[in-house]
Structure formats: structure tokens, C-alpha cells
């Protein structure tokens, strides 16, 4: 009886063709593997050169930073946290969409995710690497960074477990490790595909080692599927917890504009919002450059736009509610902090944030606009600009603290700017290497959602 119910629900799920043109299993393998096996295009080389140059610029800046200290940044007396923390929150936030797609949508049986989950997860890992860079360098004396870990040392001191900055260390490094394991587990069957297709000796050795000798037997699949499910299960709370903990860096302080209980959910919604925008940007480029229009279908893109619309509305609600509570609390400092955000010296940043994060996503109410590729491409970039500014607006609230005599205007230096741009270089270098050497679409998962993958499938027009 229970098996009948399962069959019916399966049929309903499969009514929608998730992959356009309903290709064969071999066709999927071929379309995805060809990208990795062929010579890279001129586009790839061009983008890669630019990214590597930016990464070199990042490295040079880091060397100078370590030599000279954080004095090269635009930090001043009230604004003791600058772009380093803005960039950290921005990059961690980007990562969250990848985990949402790979873990939460997997648990919710949203099978359309299979076409985008691999590179969304890759995006998560590279974004978290960029994110980890900034708190590491903003401590100033990077050579004592190991103090954040509970390692026995000559001072017999231990970390302060009550500190949100320490929570960050544990939350983000756990997040990175779990994402990496999840990504790698997903990659193993696809690496085996590349191993079996490999012609050159080097490729055979490389993919042979990393596919661990995968044989695709059901005795392996049954442990594999449960491991995948468990990893999805343990990553799911991370989607909510990591950015909540990041928000406590601000929320557990006693500063007006920061000390609010709305921060954790507001940060999580913002993270998913910006992360989906980034997935959208990357998938639009990837499907165009690599000809994956059939696998990353317009329906998938439209669904991502709907999620962007929902999370964008949540972010807009949080902006409005912050203002409301500032007024409703009757706290003069809180009220000042918010009036100052919208109409003070950083009003320009505030209104960039509001236009990009609240107004731009409203376009997606229209079915026509959320299906238009140019519109969604521009919108996805604007949203990430807006989300970067959101964190900037939060941080520069510091510029006008309790005493007007200590107010100061914060502006970044060239080094701040170069570090931000350099982190994009690092991100894209890693991402382009990923596109070049690893399958960017989860082949075994896409094959699994084809109608003929169901053992109860009967091809249309009779026969079995």
C-alpha cells in the first residue's frame, strides 16, 4: 500500500520535464564532460588572466598589509571596523545560497536544483574562502591568529567562549568544512565518469585518485545516499546558524543600530538573497558560455527569481521594521542612528542599498520580466551591489557615536579598494579553475531526475 502511494507521488513529480529535450543519459554525460575535456575558449583564458592578475594584486596588498599593519586602511577613531568586516559579511552571505540549494532544497525534494547545485556549492566554498581571508587579516598581527583556537600555549590562556568573534571562528570554519565534504561527496560519482572517459595518462591518474575507485554499485550507493542525506541534514541548520552567529558580532554589542534582535533573521534572509543573486549571475554566464541552455532551463531561472523576490521582500521588511522599532522604542540614540543612516552623511549609501535591494527585486512580480535574461542579469548584479552596501551602511553607523566631538567620516583608502577587488579576483580564479577541471553540473543527479531513470518508467508510445 505504501509503495503505491510512493509511485503516485513519483509520477506527479516527474510530470514536469526538468531537463529540456529529454536527452539520454549518455547525452548528459557528453554535454557536461565535454566542457572539462575540451580546450578552454578564448573567453575563459581572458577572464582567467584578469582574475589571476587581480589575485596577484591581492597577494601584493596582503604582503604590504602584514608589513605595515592595518594603519594602511581607512579606519579611524569611531569607525574601528571598516571594509574588512563589510567584505567578510558580504562573502559569507554569498555562500549561503549554495548551501540552501544543496541542502534545504534537497531535503524538500526540489528536484530542479540538480542543474545548479554543483556550481552553487562551488560558489559557496570559494566565497567562504574569500570570507575567511578578511577576519584573518583584520586581526592585524596575523602571526598570532592561532590564538582563536583552543590550543595549549605558553601563556596557559584559553579562548573566551562567550565572544561572538570566537563563535564566528567555529561557525565559519565548520561551515567551510561541511560544505567542502558535501561538495566532494557529490563530486565522487562524476569524477568517476571523467576517469572512465579520460584519454591522457595525467587525467586518468588525477580523476582516478579523486574518484576513490567509485564503482557505482548499489552496495555503495546505499551508504552514499544516506551520507548525502545526512550531510544535507547537518548543513541545513548551518544555513540559518552561520549568518545568525555572524550577525551577533553586531547584535551583542551595545551600540544603537546594532543591538537589535531582528539581526539574525534579517542577516539570514539577506544572505540567501545575495547568494541567489550571485548564483543567478554565475549560471547565466555559464549557460551562455558553455551552451547549457537545456540543463539550466528558464524554469529554473524563474524559480530562482521567485526566491530572490521573496527574500528581497524579507530584507525590505527588515529595513522598515528597524525604523519602526527605532521610533517605537522611544530611545533617542536608536532613533538618531536610523535617521542618520537615511539622511546623514552616508545617505547616498543607504539609498543605493534601498534601491538595489528593495526596489529592483520588485521587477520580478512581472512574469515577463522574471523570464527575461537581460533583466535578471542586470538585477542580479545590482542586488549584490546593494547587499554589499547594506553591510557598509551597518558598519559606518559607527561614524557618529554618542559624542559629537568624536564623529568622523570614514572613507576607504586605495588598499581597502584593492583588497576588495582582489578578493573578487581570488573568487573568480578559483571558480574558473573549477569550471575547467571539474564537472560543473552534477551529472549523476541530473540523470537521476530524468523520467527514464525511474524503474517504473514506460516510454511514451508503448513498449517497456
Amino acid at each position: 500500500m505504501s509503495s503505491d502511494v510512493e509511485d503516485i507521488s513519483d509520477l506527479e513529480v516527474q510530470q514536469e520535464i526538468l531537463v529540456a529535450g529529454n536527452p539520454t543519459f549518455e547525452k548528459i554525460t557528453d554535454v557536461v564532460s565535454r566542457i572539462v575535456e575540451g580546450k578552454p575558449t578564448r573567453w575563459w583564458y581572458g577572464l582567467f588572466t584578469v582574475s589571476v592578475l587581480l589575485t596577484i594584486m591581492l597577494a601584493a596588498n596582503l604582503v604590504y598589509l602584514f608589513w605595515e599593519g592595518t594603519g594602511i586602511w581607512g579606519l579611524n577613531n569611531p569607525v574601528g571596523w571598516g571594509w574588512a568586516i563589510v567584505n567578510f559579511v558580504f562573502w559569507v552571505g554569498i555562500g549561503h545560497a549554495g548551501t540552501l540549494i544543496s541542502a534545504i532544497l534537497f531535503l524538500l525534494r526540489q528536484r530542479w536544483r540538480t542543474s545548479i547545485n554543483r556550481f552553487a556549492e562551488a560558489m559557496t566554498i570559494f566565497a567562504v574562502i574569500c570570507a575567511l581571508l578578511f577576519p584573518a587579516i583584520h586581526v592585524g598581527r596575523v602571526w598570532v591568529l592561532y590564538w582563536v583556537f583552543p590550543l595549549p600555549n605558553q601563556m596557559s590562556m584559553w579562548p573566551n567562549w562567550r565572544s561572538p568573534l570566537l563563535w564566528d571562528t567555529f561557525a565559519v570554519s565548520t561551515y567551510f568544512t561541511c560544505s567542502l565534504l558535501f561538495w566532494y561527496v557529490g563530486l565522487v560519482p562524476d569524477l568517476a565518469t571523467l576517469r572512465d572517459r579520460a584519454r591522457s595518462r595525467l587525467r586518468k591518474i588525477f580523476y582516478g585518485i579523486f574518484s576513490l575507485g567509485w564503482r557505482g554499485g548499489n552496495r555503495q550507493w546505499r551508504h552514499y545516499e544516506l551520507a548525502y542525506l545526512v550531510l544535507a541534514g547537518v548543513s541545513t541548520p548551518l544555513v540559518l546558524s552561520v549568518h545568525s552567529i555572524v550577525s551577533t558580532d553586531f547584535a551583542t554589542s551595545l551600540l544603537p543600530g546594532w543591538h537589535t534582535t531582528i539581526f539574525p533573521p534579517y542577516f539570514v534572509a539577506g544572505a540567501i538573497f545575495s547568494g541567489f543573486a550571485m548564483v543567478l549571475t554565475l549560471s547565466l554566464i555559464a549557460r551562455k558560455v558553455f551552451g547549457l541552455e537545456d540543463i539550466i532551463t528558464p524554469r529554473t531561472l524563474e524559480r530562482m527569481n521567485k526566491i530572490i523576490l521573496v527574500t528581497g521582500m524579507m530584507v525590505g521588511y527588515a529595513y522598515a521594521m528597524e525604523f519602526f522599532i527605532a521610533w517605537y522604542s522611544g530611545n533617542g540614540y536608536e532613533k538618531f542612528a536610523f535617521v542618520n543612516r537615511a539622511f546623514g552623511p552616508y545617505a547616498w549609501a543607504y539609498w543605493i542599498m534601498v534601491s538595489c535591494n528593495v526596489i529592483v527585486p520588485q521587477l520580478f512580480w512581472s512574469k515577463k520580466l522574471r523570464n527575461s535574461i537581460p533583466v535578471m542579469f542586470v538585477a542580479s548584479i545590482l542586488i549584490n551591489v546593494g547587499m554589499w552596501f547594506e553591510r557598509f551602511v551597518i558598519v559606518v553607523t559607527l561614524s557618529r557615536d554618542f559624542l559629537p566631538s568624536s564623529w568622523d567620516y570614514y572613507s576607504p583608502t586605495a588598499y581597502d579598494v584593492m583588497l576588495l577587488i582582489g578578493s573578487f579576483g581570488l573568487f573568480f580564479t578559483m571558480f574558473l579553475l573549477f569550471l575547467r577541471f571539474l564537472p560543473m553540473v552534477a551529472m549523476s543527479e541530473v540523470k537521476g531526475v530524468l523520467p527514464q531513470a525511474d524503474p517504473h518508467y514506460h516510454p511514451p508510445g508503448g513498449g517497456s
Binding site: 573566551n160 565548520t174 572512465d196 552514499y224 545526512v230 537521476g448
Partner: protein, 184 residues
């Protein structure tokens, strides 16, 4: 090349045309009493565990144990470091303010569970194992593309080369071949 590992038994392979045929083959293999066989496919097939007569993977227990070790271990570490080894008053809070330690304890619990899932899966699957007799078959490479195979190991009680081959063909298997792992 002779390896120092325990040699793996010889294996008979047969190819099937579709997930449906593989599932039926698995049922027939089990009904005929075979135990040391496996069904290979490019993706996991729904219902195959039941067809092969496999129970639920014990991986969940490994994850549960690992997660508990992470949880208790981290609670112990935070308690010992902050209340025993170096008690220090911070913001007038108790030495062991466990509520404030939950974020790190939670993170380590998740981390250990993930390690349990990953390494537990590898050890249950005996991976990495870079060499296996089935890789001796040219055709078997299709299993990661669009091919469906049944493999029967020689240490199965019912294994006899000719009988197994005949049986696999009778349930719809094509291209039956024997791989021993001794080649090259």
C-alpha cells in the same frame, strides 16, 4: 602487476538495458539465492535496496555516535578550560556559562557529524580502493555514463562460471564477461 593486497575474487559481469531491467534482474538474483552480487548504475535507483534485499545503511549510527562525541567533547572542553584550568571572571558571568557556549558546541557537533557521515561512508564502502577487478572490463566504463551492470563475485556459494553466465543471460543480461583482475 601483483599487488600486496589480498587478491579479489573473479567477477562475472552482465549488462542490462535500463533501470527497470536492472531492478528486475536484482529481484531474480536474490530470489535464486545469490548473495555476493551487486547492481551498478550511473545513479542510485529507487527501490534497488529492497530488490537486492539490503537493509538500511548503518551509517546513521556512526553519525549519531560522532555527533554525540562532538557535543560532549566540546562541552567538556569549554567547561574544563573556563571553569577548571583557568577560571576567569568575564562580564560577571559564571565560569561555566554554558548558554553562551552553545554556538561553539553546536558547531563542533555539526562538524563531527559531518566527519562521521563522510568517513563512515568511505569506510562502509571500503573506499578509496583504486583497483578492482571490474575495472578490467572495457565495457564496464559505461557504468558511470549510461550503462547498467550486474556483477557476481566468485566467492558466492552458488558461483560456477558457466551456470552464472547462463543464469545472467536468462534474466536478460547481455555481453556477459568474466574479469579476474589478473590482466596487465
Amino acid at each position: 602487476m601483483k599487488s600486496s593486497f589480498k587478491p579479489l575474487p573473479e567477477i562475472t559481469l552482465a549488462e542490462f538495458a535500463s533501470p527497470e531491467q536492472l531492478l528486475t534482474a536484482a529481484e531474480k538474483m536474490r530470489e535464486s539465492g545469490y548473495t555476493r552480487f551487486d547492481c551498478h548504475s550511473p545513479f542510485p535507483i529507487h527501490g534497488m535496496d529492497d530488490a537486492m534485499g539490503l537493509g538500511r545503511s548503518p551509517l546513521g549510527y556512526i553519525v549519531g555516535v560522532m555527533g554525540s562525541v562532538g557535543l560532549l567533547g566540546m562541552l567538556l572542553l569549554t567547561w574544563w578550560t573556563s571553569a577548571v584550568d583557568y577560571p576567569f571572571v568575564i562580564s560577571g558571568k559564571p565560569y561555566f556559562s554554558w548558554q553562551a557556549y552553545i554556538p561553539v558546541v553546536f558547531a563542533i557537533t555539526v562538524l563531527f557529524s559531518a566527519f562521521g557521515a563522510f568517513f563512515g561512508m568511505l569506510s562502509l564502502n571500503q573506499l578509496p580502493r583504486l583497483f578492482h577487478p571490474v575495472f578490467g572490463s572495457e565495457r564496464f566504463g559505461r557504468v558511470t555514463d549510461g550503462g547498467f551492470f550486474v556483477s557476481v563475485q566468485a566467492d558466492d556459494a552458488l558461483y560456477e562460471r558457466e551456470k552464472v553466465a547462463a543464469f545472467l543471460e536468462s534474466i536478460g543480461g547481455k555481453n556477459v564477461e568474466v574479469v579476474t583482475g589478473d590482466e596487465d
